[in-house]
Amino acid sequence: MVQVRVPTPLRKLTGGADSVEADGASVAAIVRHLDEHYPGMKDRICDESGAVRRFVNIFVNGEDIRFLQQLDTPVKTGDELSIVPAIAGGR
């Protein structure tokens, strides 16, 4: 089981929960699990082609999956997955 941090815009789908558990061996599998238990999640995270939406960042244990294997990034029990809307920072 993987811990998934849910950003505010998605909490209406998780009944207000800011953190949920999910099962799967990859980020893609986690997204599928989330969509099964909280319908509508996949559409918010991924576009029609199945890729992660431009303005969504997914981190596995703090590392952006765009630097790993995108949706194929493997996950294991105890990992933490964070879904974060893109932030533009100042410097």
Binding site: R53, R54, A86
Partner: protein
């Protein structure tokens, strides 16, 4: 009263009323403030703008506040310097430097976006403001919060140099040093913003924050005598300022205050140039990078608004280039020696990229050019340490000075003769 109609998602167009929201409910895209331009016609004119004080609130009709501005009353309206000596060095005819290195109160362009963000935060009733930043943004938020008497928390990476931290903590905010990199800090801030109900200037009040960047463009147009430069070079970090300069020019044109076109160019440091890479590869897909450059103030590897930078650059017929750290430092020296302006590496990047674009023939030598300087070199002395000519040491005797002077004159003649 304002001309603001509401918020609209830049990606999917979904609309919202004016609220502290930054992320679209539907597609996670960024919200943008929308104005009623038709109502502005005939009311927002060159004359109406010129009647306002010489600060960024001069353009308040095109900014998202309802009442009187509460903060940033001396921010903006920085000098537009006619740079003839730099122009000669670069082989061009008409060159200007828009100099935000002297912006009030914290010497960077951030004072523009922070003034608007905090004014709006106060209108929303927030009593604590916050940001994640390594430098200019934290300085600005801390200073403005102090002046407005607001609570302030700044979040910084734990390994930030002491000198940089003092530039913010002197104003009295609570500083939280987070064990992680800049992107970790931003992610934490997103979560804190959600939970604590504070105004994070670049997160939950971001659509209002970014509007402040338009004032950079408005001022360039007004200071050129209500005309657009033919070319403007703008540094790109997270991607806020360039698209908003483009929007500012569009708005002025739309309202009939200026005519003509301006090609807009993006400048990045070679060690953090994801937008320039995408531009050169003729794609929309920006691949994040891990930044590695002395230009810390523009070292953002995953620019959230990068896509909009590409769009604005392409639509204007502009281009973009990246400058190496060596080129950046050389450019800081060039600007200082020709125009007496000491900028930090982001400004050096813009000067260096302008030089490249001129050498490439992308920017013609006989058209008007504006270089965007966004920060002050006094905050980043380490960038030029080791490359500045050290002083010549002599005993306190006139004869020793005479000898030194002769030596220096002789070597100058040798190098110019």
């Amino acid at each position: 009263m304002s001309y603001v109609k509401g918020l609209r998602c830049r990606e999917c167009g979904s609309e919202q009323p004016v609220e502290p929201l930054h992320v679209c409910d539907v597609c996670f895209g960024p919200y943008e403030v929308v104005y009623d331009y038709e109502a502005m016609r005939g009311h927002v004119t060159r004359e109406s703008i010129e009647r306002h004080p010489r600060n960024l609130w001069r353009y308040r009709d095109l900014l998202p506040i309802e009442g009187e501005p509460k903060i940033g009353l001396h921010s903006g309206f920085t000098p537009l310097v006619r740079a003839d000596r730099l122009a000669a060095a670069l082989g061009v005819r008409e060159l200007y430097v828009k100099d935000d290195s002297v912006n009030h109160p914290t010497f960077s362009y951030k004072d523009r976006v922070v003034s608007v963000a905090i004014s709006k935060a106060m209108e929303f009733g927030f009593t604590t403001v916050s940001c994640a930043s390594t430098g200019n943004l934290a300085n600005s938020v801390s200073a403005h919060a102090a002046r407005a008497g607001l609570g302030c928390y700044i979040f910084i990476p734990h390994d930030l140099e002491q000198g940089k931290v003092i530039g913010s903590t002197v104003y009295g905010p609570r500083a939280v040093a987070v064990r992680g990199n800049y992107d970790d800090v931003n992610r934490l801030c997103s979560e804190v913003a959600d939970k604590y109900g504070w105004a994070f200037v670049n997160i939950n009040v971001r659509p209002y924050y970014t509007e402040g960047a338009k004032t950079y463009g408005f001022e360039v147009a007004e200071q050129l005598g209500w005309r657009l430069p033919q070319h403007i070079v703008v540094p790109t970090a997270g991607g806020t300022i360039l698209p908003k300069v483009a929007k500012a020019f569009d708005e002025l044109r739309h309202l009939g205050l200026v005519e003509g076109d301006c090609k807009i160019y993006t400048a990045q440091a070679a060690g953090s140039a994801p937008v320039v890479h995408a531009l050169h590869r003729d794609t929309d897909l920006i691949v994040p990078v891990k930044p590695n450059t002395i230009a810390k103030s523009i070292a953002i590897g995953n620019p959230a608004d990068g896509y909009y930078v590409l769009k604005a650059v392409r639509e204007s017929g502009g281009w973009g280039e990246a400058a190496t750290d060596e080129e950046i430092v050389a450019a800081i020296h060039l600007l200082a020696r020709t125009e007496g302006i000491f900028t930090e590496p982001a400004g050096g990047t813009t000067v260096a990229v302008t030089k490249k674009l001129i050498e490439q023939g992308r920017i013609p030598s006989d058209e008007s050019i504006v270089i965007s300087v966004t920060g002050n070199g006094y905050k980043t002395l380490e960038a030029v340490t080791g490359t500045v000519t050290p002083p010549f040491e002599i005993p306190a005797r006139l004869s020793d000075f005479d000898a030194l002077y002769e030596r220096l004159q002789a070597s100058q003649q040798a190098s110019t003769g």
